[in-house]
Amino acid sequence: MIANYLVLSAALFCVGAFGVLARRHLVVVLMSLEVMLNGVNVALLAFARLHGDSGGQVFVLMVMAVAAAEAAVGLAILVAVFRNRGSADARELRDLHG
């Protein structure tokens, strides 16, 4: 049943969203983001299977490439932040907070 796959996808997305909203350690926020992207991948694959179309699988490949690029840039920003502040806490980054 397709609904099972879509509910799994929604569950993974919401678990990841909780991590992004609630956690303050930047590494954990990025890990939660990966979990969210995986949830989206499950939905794309389920719909690809439903329609018998390979296009959905191609888009999963695109999402994987974007996830890899996002992890690399995000972790590079984290290294720069940690070098300047000595902390990986999202709370510390409030220079633009009026």
Binding site: V7, R24, N41, V60, M62, A68, V79, D89
Partner: protein
């Protein structure tokens, strides 16, 4: 429900919960590994065997190793990379995400056909149809991804470089 799918889906969601709730990110890494492997099993149940292999290669082979390297770099410093204050509004975030999940699950279960999935066309998850689609109809997005990866490559080197 398919028992293999049920076990893999439960493992994936449970491991995902462990990832987002561990205080020490280093302890989240093995759970993330379990989550990704369980998801590869889900992909195999869908029939996308090529993507299951790529998923394991990219997520556990590249992304997870990158996280481990960064955690290793952070925790080697004074002040410890694992130090973290209390969560931001944990109850409100949990309620929001639970509400979003209920909304998504109810609406998805309603719009999606509740019948069994049709049998996939011959060679659904194999390399050849995916490759034909990737280098045929979706050639432009593929080329754009190469530019994205190039930009990410330059950007991450530039950002992480030590200022002279």
């Amino acid at each position: 429900m398919d028992p293999v799918f049920a076990v893999a889906a439960g493992l994936a969601v449970g491991a995902g919960l462990m990832v987002v709730t561990r205080r020490d990110p280093v302890r989240g890494v093995p759970w993330m590994l379990l989550c990704f492997v369980a998801l590869a099993a889900v992909y195999l149940r869908i029939g996308a065997s090529f993507l299951a292999a790529v998923h394991v290669l990219v997520y556990t082979g590249a992304i997870l190793v990158l996280f481990v390297f960064i955690l290793m770099l952070l925790s080697g410093r004074p002040g410890e990379g694992g130090a973290e204050g209390p969560d931001r509004w944990p109850v409100a975030s949990a309620a929001l995400c639970l509400g979003l999940f209920v909304l998504l699950a109810v609406s998805l279960a309603r719009i999606a056909p509740s019948s069994r999935l049709p049998d996939p066309p011959a060679g659904f998850g194999a390399v050849e149809p995916v490759g034909r689609s990737l280098f045929g109809r979706h050639l432009l997005p593929f080329e754009l991804v190469s530019i994205l990866i190039l930009a990410a490559l330059f950007g991450s080197v530039l950002l992480a470089r030590k200022k002279p």
